[in-house]
Amino acid sequence: MVLDLVEPLLAGNRRALAKAISHVEDEAVGAQQLLATLYPHTGRAHLIGITGAPGTGKSTLVNALARAYRAQGQTVGVVAVDPTSPFSGGALLGDRVRMRDLAGDPGIFIRSMATRGSLGGLARATSDVLTVLDAGGFDRILIETVGVGQAEIDIASAAHTTIVVEAPGLGDEVQAIKAGILEIADLFAVNKADRDGADHTAMALQMMQGLAAPQAAQSFGQAAGHHREPASGNRPSHPSAHPEPGAQDDGSWLPPITKTVAIRGEGVDGLRDWIERHASYLRETGQLTRREVARAHTALKSILADRLMADLLASQADGTNAATLVTRLAAAIARREIDPYTAADQVLAGAFARPLGRRHDG
């Protein structure tokens, strides 16, 4: 049944690819087996994340980048994520509106995804969908996150190269991004660069880079194998001395700041070339392997967390279902009869009555 999709998918059948993505996204019966079968066929695609605030032009930039890659003959998969309503569970996925130029090209495959409750800017199943598209043989996969604010940085552990898209005139934009988003950028794209204030935005980003001492930029690198090895770190830290962006002598990477007008395709070839330079940098410095390990680490831990939680909630203690106990304790916490930590101890004390973490769907 589900595994019947594998052969046509690997042969390039788009219907099979679309069906496989749905199975994975719905965590349907057999999805795990499907992913296991596809996994040996992955690892070829370069994964490119595109993130930024709502309205900066991410979808238009994805459209333009996909065209720029097609002009070089590379095939492109696109995953465009939009938010799920926390109230209805429904979603309006509108990114295709900006990607109509890509219609009719057999070298392109676009899939819209809803976050389905995930808060990090991607859906929980996004990395599994990337596995399916990678097995489908696409050379480059563009992942567009939801419009993000400050801390939705899941993309950094899902992609090889992360592009943070900025646009002029969004108010105090650099303040808004400085804490989380700025740190995960491998490349900056100041989009809508034909508008007033684009130079200001680019300069503000450059100033931020100048202010960041090498050791300040390493925190994410340790957590998720990201750029800028702590290493010797003797990049000039004087704010006014701007080194050339890209690979540095000490093995670190200084994110270039590019300007684009995605709707007219301006600057997009340059951005594409920077992505390729970053890909080469990752390969040549061994960072690609480190990022792959970090990606796998994140994915494995999230699978473990999901399974342990599911098993915990399904477990029985003294004839009570743990999920019921959790609901009851939540009410008790709200009434100040018990504190959350003691409540957690109570749940865990009754759990683990049977081996945890086993898959139940066969």
Binding site: A18, D26, F87, A91, L93, V97, A103, G104, R111
Partner: protein, 142 residues
């Protein structure tokens, strides 16, 4: 296993540029818990069939106000069938003369919704249609 979401493509084929109705329906379906892929105006039948395939939707909802439904609907259904998407439920909204409704259903359009249709009716129709299809498609005991 998460709950399976109903996925709907809402598209406007042809040349009329009035998409308010399509947006109202898209919003209502979203509020009913469905995942709606909205593709905007001036879509060709080829673009719609391609999007339906890539997005693996259960429903294709078309909005046509231009009067070209007798040309556009058969073409879209033909393209869907050519890519083995016979199971996709095609719905049509817009200004559709009464005498066209029966021929459209003969062609394979499952539901036709004219002006004044309540969004609840459309939601109910989609829920019943997808349920019926799931019962029909999945053998008991699987």
């Amino acid at each position: 296993m998460t709950e399976r979401k109903i996925r709907v493509l809402v598209a406007k084929p042809g040349l009329d540029g009035h998409d308010r109705g399509a947006k109202v329906v898209a919003r209502a379906l979203r509020d009913a818990g469905m995942e709606v892929i909205y593709t905007g105006i001036r879509q060709t039948p080829e673009m719609i069939a391609e999007a339906a395939l890539q997005e693996d939707v259960d429903i294709v909802g078309l909005s046509i106000l231009s009067g070209a439904h007798m040309a556009l609907c058969p073409r879209i259904i033909e393209l869907l069938r050519a890519q083995e998407m016979d199971d996709v439920i095609v719905l049509l909204g817009g200004i559709i003369p009464d005498e066209d409704v029966e021929p459209l259903k003969q062609l394979g359009v499952k539901g036709v919704f004219g002006p004044g249709t309540s969004t609840h009716d459309i939601i109910d129709f989609i829920r019943r249609a997808t349920q019926a299809q799931e019962l029909g498609a999945v053998p008991v005991g699987q």
